[in-house]
């Protein structure tokens, strides 16, 4: 589903000042996997996510996502790629002037889905994330955990094959985070591949899923059923 081969990405900060965000990274994520990307700030997690959605292009190496070769992908085909990917942000990024249902429906409207499909799909996905009674609520009326559920619903409403979550529990307290993780696990069980960048040690330790650790842009650990830090 996701494959990186010798991917290097550097950012220029000045004329002679370069920062290596990813350094010769090669890895593969199979269909239906649940993967944590861990590592300190600046280790390359964000760059990794941005490369998968083609917000950034690598300096060298090859990237395949959902069967598409991103290094040769024409820019007009990027929207089609992103329809295969759901994206959950740390800060939810809900539109404040739209209700819960409208926020979720928005993701379908702007890719040209018909009204009938929207009317069928939005309540379905709100039920999946446990917000069936909140369709008409505005984002500011919701708790952080509920807002993140809306964000997950929006990411998943188009049934993407991949769900990318960038620190989805970063702004939530531990008990709320557990609820979000249960939700992501449920979505993963429907067959979607989930890639989650996180700092949250408790969550990684309790989930016991594959862990890829980045440090200074390099993969320093790739462990199935891993924990946040080195075990023992």
């Amino acid at each position: 589903m996701i494959k990186l081969k010798n991917v290097t990405k550097t950012y220029k900060r000045g004329a002679d000042d370069e920062v290596v965000a990813l350094d010769d990274v090669s890895l593969e994520v199979a269909k239906g996997e649940f993967v944590f990307i861990v590592g300190p700030s600046g280790s390359g997690k964000s760059t990794f996510m941005k490369l998968l959605t083609r917000e950034q292009v690598p300096d060298s190496g090859e990237i395949w996502v959902a069967g598409k070769d991103l290094t040769s992908l024409r820019s007009w085909k990027i929207p089609a790629l992103r329809r295969e990917i759901g994206y959950v942000f740390q800060d939810f990024k809900l539109l404040p002037n739209k209700s819960v249902a409208e926020n979720v429906a928005f993701a379908l409207e702007v890719i040209g889905k018909g009204r009938r499909e929207i009317e069928r799909r939005v309540p379905e996905v709100l039920e999946l994330v446990g917000l069936e009674g909140k369709a008409k609520a505005m984002p500011h009326e919701l708790s952080g955990g509920q807002q993140q559920r809306v964000s997950v619903a929006r990411a998943f409403v188009n049934s993407p094959r991949i769900l990318l979550c960038d620190e989805p529990t970063g702004n939530l307290d531990p008990s709320t985070s557990v609820g979000i993780m249960k939700l992501l696990d449920r979505i993963n069980r429907t067959g979607a591949t989930v890639v989650m960048a996180t700092h949250d040690q408790h969550i990684v330790d309790s989930m016991r899923r594959r862990v890829i650790e980045l440090e200074n842009g390099a993969v320093v650990r790739d462990q199935s059923r891993g924990v946040y830090g080195y075990a023992g």
Binding site: P79, R82, I85, Y87, E109, V110, I111, G112
Partner: protein, 297 residues
């Protein structure tokens, strides 16, 4: 209407209402520039209309005596004049215009000015030879050779009159065009800036749209529509201004300046489509360029 188009129209409406003063400023700026542009278009029409009958058809008129200021020309004198004209190598073509034909042409040219037609009797207009030259600059050759011929009342280089008229109108037109171009550039920058502000105000929404896979055109179209609406509104206002003002002015002028035909409502109406096209074009181009910068940043 499909959900897509409803969304696009709603969003462009939101953009226009977000900053109404700015929207008005943009429309006014387009109006000013397009009114000037329209004025230059109409001025060109006016020049064409006024010169249509003169240019190319006749370079030199040799008016013949009809007895008012000099003894009338005899048939014999006229035939001699004609054959001498035709033998002259600088002459390309000689056309005789009788008094009746002169009046006919006159009535055709000034058919919109009945008061002028009333005071001009068919008898007043002189018969003439209308002479076109191989090289219009050879006028003096003709003037010197034929002014002393019996029965010739006057020899007039129509180009001379025309050149003065054309030079004057050209200066006015080019001046207006230059100001119009500067104003259009200002309007284009204003549109671009407004669209950038609009795009910036909606950057979060745009970021989400990009990430869920909305196509680039779907993201840009509301902004483009927003600009195009202001462009077309500006064009319509300028068209209305020209429609309200120009026919009145030319009507007034035609009462003062009797010997020149003037443009009327018809020409102003015809100037509408090019103005709309210009308003549409300037808005579309400047907003596309602005969005291009926005997406790159």
């Amino acid at each position: 209407m499909s959900a897509r188009w409803r969304y696009i129209i709603q969003e462009s409406g939101k953009g226009l209402r977000r900053n109404p003063l700015m929207t008005v400023a943009v429309i006014l700026s387009i109006t000013v520039s397009l009114t000037l542009l329209g004025a230059t278009l109409l001025l060109r029409d006016q020049i064409d209309l006024a010169t249509d009958d003169w240019v190319d058809q006749v370079e030199v008129s040799i008016f013949l005596c009809d007895g008012t200021t000099c003894p009338p020309i005899t048939d014999e004198q006229r035939d001699t004049l004609r054959s001498d004209l035709e033998e002259q190598p600088v002459v390309e073509e000689v056309i005789f215009e009788s008094k009746d034909e002169a009046y006919e042409r006159f009535t055709e040219l000034f058919k919109d000015q009945p008061n002028l037609l009333e005071i001009v009797e068919p008898d007043i207009l002189p018969a003439s030879f209308r002479v076109s030259l191989v090289d219009p600059d050879e006028f003096l050759v003709i003037a010197q050779q034929f002014e002393a011929y019996p029965g010739v009342e006057d020899i007039v280089d129509q180009r001379e009159i025309l050149t003065q008229f054309l030079n004057f109108t050209r200066i006015v037109r080019n001046g207006a065009l230059a100001v119009a171009v500067i104003q259009l550039a200002a309007a284009a920058l204003l549109i671009g800036n407004t669209i950038l502000m609009s795009a910036f105000a909606r950057r979060e929404q745009t970021a989400i749209m990009k990430l869920v896979g909305a196509s680039n055109w779907y993201i840009r179209l509301p902004f483009l529509m927003e600009a195009v609406i202001t462009g077309i509104l500006g064009a319509l206002v300028s068209w209305g201004l020209l429609y309200g003002v120009v026919p009145r002015v030319t009507e007034g002028l035609s009462r003062e300046v009797l010997l020149m035909p003037f443009i009327g409502v018809q020409e102003v109406i015809a100037a509408g489509p090019p103005l709309l096209l210009a308003g549409f074009g300037i808005a579309a181009i400047s907003s596309i360029v602005a969005l291009w910068f926005f997406q790159d940043s």
